[in-house]
């Protein structure tokens, strides 16, 4: 039909209704926010990396200088091997876990799963603090450690062990999703042909979870290489990239080298993001709508083995967490272990670091409230309104970008950008507002994806129907979209709150003495040798996150009862 050359008409453009213009203006506002608080800071890092101290453009000189500094290259090597080691230990361990949860009839699955996810509720460096109590200079099990030939926990051994505990829940969640996405019909077909269990594992299970494994490995590697808290607490004189950035920028004010290291940290994260994107597309394509979900059948010996395995690791996780809690209540470690509130009262309240905890609560509440509003409304504008396609593409890209940006890099960008004297937003520097905005941007993508998934599950024609009935989009948003999506909104708010409570990496560059948050206070206390108070603070954060989670769950329950009555 295309054979006849169609005459070229000037394209017809629809007149925009004022209501559509409102949506366009809102979208433009979202774009401006994301440019100011994400794109611009990141570009400043690039700019810093290519400039000398006088602000002259020097091509790749800073990178070359970096490569000529042996101490820094050693950090690069340290970061790489430590991250690889943690990945090699954690991924198989988490795979075993996920396998036990998804493919066995182990009892108390919810409880076990809950235990392994607890570390998410506390700052990642909690495990480092616990390790110090177990194996540090005055550690309980120091002798055992010496027995297997490790001289001291400070340094690489401590980092590796603490990171394993910290990233385990992240790897577990990815692998659990991958293993749950199984088609029972494949196993039935294999059974019908009399296939042995090991062969089924290697020909069906493993290939099916392949993308999940790749994704879990990449995420683990990236989390470890960009983590700042654990190496800071238990690294001793063992330098890694993340601690280098901090020393270079805050200690030596060498912004150019700091920017170079930040770009090195960005590389694995961007790679992970790219591969993950590709992988998740393949993963969804694998499972067709006709797939029958797999449900495991009881097998006594196998289930018992799985339970024992899981119990062992769950016990280790509990020991890890429990030690910090126990130590935070110990009167005077290791001489007087009688429980007391000494670290909480003397170490936190009287030392006037308790204000950090209040700051944390404020920042987390702000992040949860404004973050959820921003994320959900911009996802709505992207998914459900029309027009301004160029801007739409830009906002969509910016919404995905934070996933590829480690917190440390984002925080560094914030210093470079907001601390610049010429920046009109300079007044925000060191304020709790900026800490909140930074945290929102840092954790934007996960919230965005949750919102998009919720919105995509709604009928795509709601807006068309509303327009035909002459009801403006914001009315439909209020009456239909928002009530249906409340469970997702609560999920997003909870995610923001907990991450804001526990985050360290981005905000470590941005606080002032007045706006110090709890997680930063832990670092300072530990540095000052107040490890008991540091443990107490970490426990407080964990407690607050747990309480918040319970509150959000209660909220979800009551909202469900009121707004989701229409569900069958």
């Amino acid at each position: 039909m295309q054979a006849t050359a169609a005459p070229r008409y000037p394209p017809v453009r629809q007149r925009a209704h004022w209501i559509d213009r409102l949506a366009h203006a809102a979208l433009a506002l979202t774009a401006i926010i994301l440019i100011a608080f994400l794109a611009a800071p990141l570009l400043t890092i690039l700019q810093q990396a290519l400039q000398d101290k006088a602000g002259q453009f020097v091509w790749l000189d800073n990178f070359i200088d970096y490569a000529k500094t042996p101490a820094l290259l050693e950090s690069l090597w340290n970061s790489l091997w430590v991250s690889s080691a943690v990945t090699l230990i954690t991924v198989p361990l988490a795979f075993g876990f996920a396998y036990a949860l998804a493919r066995s009839c182990m009892p108390c699955k919810a409880l076990f799963r809950g235990i392994t996810l607890i570390p998410l509720l506390a700052p990642s460096l909690l495990s480092a603090i616990s390790l110090i109590y177990w194996f540090g200079n005055q550690g309980v099990l120091k002798g055992w450690m010496r027995g297997i030939g490790i001289e001291q926990i400070y340094g690489a051994p401590g980092i590796v062990v603490a990171e394993c505990f910290a990233v385990l829940p992240h790897a577990l969640m990815i692998l659990l999703t991958a293993l749950r996405l199984a088609d029972a019909r494949l196993y039935e077909a294999a059974d019908a042909m009399g296939t042995r269990a090991t062969r089924k594992f290697f020909t069906i299970t493993l290939p099916g979870a392949k993308y999940g494994l790749i994704s879990a490995a990449l995420v683990t590697f990236t989390l470890v290489i960009t983590d700042f808290g654990i190496p800071k607490v238990i690294g001793g004189s063992f330098n890694v990239l993340a601690t280098d950035v901090f020393k270079l920028v805050i200690g030596q004010q060498d912004f150019a080298k700091g920017a170079v290291v930040a770009i090195l940290l960005l590389a694995p994260a961007v790679l992970t993001f790219g591969v993950d994107n590709y992988v998740s597309r393949r993963q969804t394509a694998m499972l067709t709508a006709r797939a029958v979900p797999y449900s495991p059948r009881p097998a006594r010996k196998y289930d018992i083995a799985m339970t024992l395995y899981y119990s062992l690791v769950a016990l280790l996780v509990l020991a890890m967490l429990g030690m910090a809690v126990f130590a935070s209540f110990a009167s005077f470690w290791p001489y007087n272990l009688a429980p007391s509130m000494r670290h909480y009262v003397l170490g936190l309240v009287d030392a006037e670091v308790g204000v950090g905890f209040v700051n944390s609560l404020k920042m987390s509440a702000g992040t949860a409230l404004f973050g959820t509003a921003l994320v959900f409304f911009s996802a709505y504008l992207l998914e459900k309104t029309k027009g301004m396609d160029g801007l739409r593409g830009l906002v969509r890209m910016l919404a995905m970008l934070p996933m590829a940006v480690p917190g440390l890099v984002l925080g560094l960008g914030y210093i470079f950008f907001f601390n610049a004297p010429g920046n009109p937003l300079n007044g925000l520097y060191h304020t709790l507002t900026l800490l909140t905005l930074c945290t929102i941007v840092h954790f934007y993508t996960t919230g965005h994806l949750t919102a998009v998934t919720a919105l995509k599950s709604l009928d795509g024609e709601f807006e068309a129907v509303s327009a035909s009935l002459k009801v403006p989009f914001f009315k439909t948003f209020w009456r239909v979209t928002l009530p249906i999506c409340t469970p997702a909104l609560i999920d997003i708010a909870r995610y923001f709150f907990i991450n804001a409570m526990t985050t360290i990496s981005a905000v470590v560059f941005l606080y002032s003495p007045e706006t110090k948050v709890a997680s930063i206070a832990i670092l300072n206390l530990e540095e000052a040798g107040e490890i008991g108070a540091a443990a107490a603070m970490a426990v407080l954060i964990g407690g607050a996150s747990t309480l918040a989670t319970l509150l959000f769950m209660a909220l979800a329950w009551s909202v469900n009862r009121r707004t989701q009555a229409w569900k069958k």
Binding site: V12, Q14, H17, S468, L469, A565, W566
Partner: protein, 350 residues
């Protein structure tokens, strides 16, 4: 501009990138007409409907409704109600709130809204369903409510985008007749998009058959079926036998049969519907009678699709409809021979 008609499409052209979805579509629709856009998937019928609704924008061309140029108006400034295949009912609102969705925005008094809603749910055959949520209704019931919602504001034009495709076969037949009855009662100009030819034939005043972004034919169901304007229409609407033939010297020759035919010498194809080949009545001396052998019988209940081969057509296969009674009366089975007569006036030559 033609003012006798309610909706005019002028030179509508739509491109998606390098793909031409619609090419120079011209169509006039009269007030109160029930029009079906019929065609295979990807023919552009839904795109055309969405252009009329303003949900997609044509690359070029004009749309006029009730004498008003609406080509560039956003959906909210046009006058239509729309029903989608997916129902698109608001799941968190009950039936009354769904139906009243467009009324509430017009500042209609509450009592009037309530009255109008109960009138509408009665109209679509679900009286008293106001308090129920959509998920408690069957697919057909949900689509009835969607219809009531679309009609609530008394729009001048009703657009139905494959409204029956998601329903099971029985419900589909029932609801299409209800829609037709309702449309005739209200007199609302209606356009329904469908890929189901039976649906189009049974409800439409006129059918617009589309293929590859072009209109193949516009006509009443009978015209479309009996006088297809192109091989595509003959093939797409109803079953048809296609036989190779030749025109020479003012005669159409296919197999052993000869019919008068105008035009120059050329190779052609003969299109012949199964029901236009009869097994009875055949009298001695009738013209256009030939012998055929039964090769396959496809049993469909009261009548059968019988595949026959005839030396008269160089063993080309034909499908004919024979009643079950006839087959058993004559004890016909695979391999039997019988006499068949074709109706030359029904033959279409392309």
């Amino acid at each position: 501009m033609n003012h006798d008609t309610f909706l005019n499409l002028r030179h509508i052209h739509k491109e998606f990138g390098s793909f031409t979805a619609l090419q120079d579509i011209n169509l006039d629709i009269r007030k109160g007409e029930f029009i079906c856009f019929l065609g295979p998937s990807g023919c552009g019928k839904t795109t055309l409907l969405r252009i009329i609704a303003g949900l997609d924008v044509q690359t070029a061309g004009e749309v006029h409704q009730a004498g008003r140029d609406i080509s560039r108006l956003p959906p909210a400034l046009r006058d239509y109600g729309i029903v989608f295949q997916s129902y698109a009912l608001f799941p968190n609102l009950n039936v009354a709130d769904n139906v009243a969705y467009g009324l509430v925005n017009r500042k209609t008094p509450k009592a009037d809204i309530k009255k109008r809603v109960s009138e509408l749910v009665k109209l679509v055959g679900l009286p008293g369903s106001e308090g129920i949520y959509p998920s408690q209704l069957s697919g057909g019931q949900q689509q009835r409510i969607a219809l009531a919602r679309a009609l609530a504001t008394s729009p001048g034009l009703l657009l139905l985008d494959e409204p029956l495709s998601a329903l099971d076969a029985l419900e589909r037949v029932r609801l299409r007749q209800e829609i037709r009855t309702l449309q005739q009662k209200l007199g609302v100009t209606t356009i329904m998009v469908t890929h189901d030819q039976e649906e189009a034939l049974s409800v439409a005043d006129r059918i617009v058959v589309m293929n590859n972004g072009l209109i193949e034919q516009v006509g009443t169901p009978m015209e479309i079926y009996r006088e297809p304007a192109s091989p595509f229409v003959a093939d797409f609407v109803g079953k048809v036998n296609v036989l190779p033939a030749r025109v020479s010297g003012g005669e159409l020759k296919f197999g052993a049969l000869t019919l008068p035919c105008d035009g120059g010498d050329r190779e052609v194809k003969v299109y012949l519907r199964p029901e236009d080949v009869l097994a009875r009545p055949i009298a001695d001396g009738d013209a256009h009678v030939f012998d055929a052998t039964i090769e396959k019988i496809e049993f469909l209940g009261s009548f059968c699709h019988v595949h026959v081969a005839s030396p008269a057509f160089n063993s080309h296969k034909l499908t004919v409809y024979l009643s079950l009674n006839f087959l058993s009366e004559q004890s016909l089975q695979i391999g039997s021979t019988l006499k068949l007569k074709l109706l030359p006036e029904r033959i279409k030559v392309f």
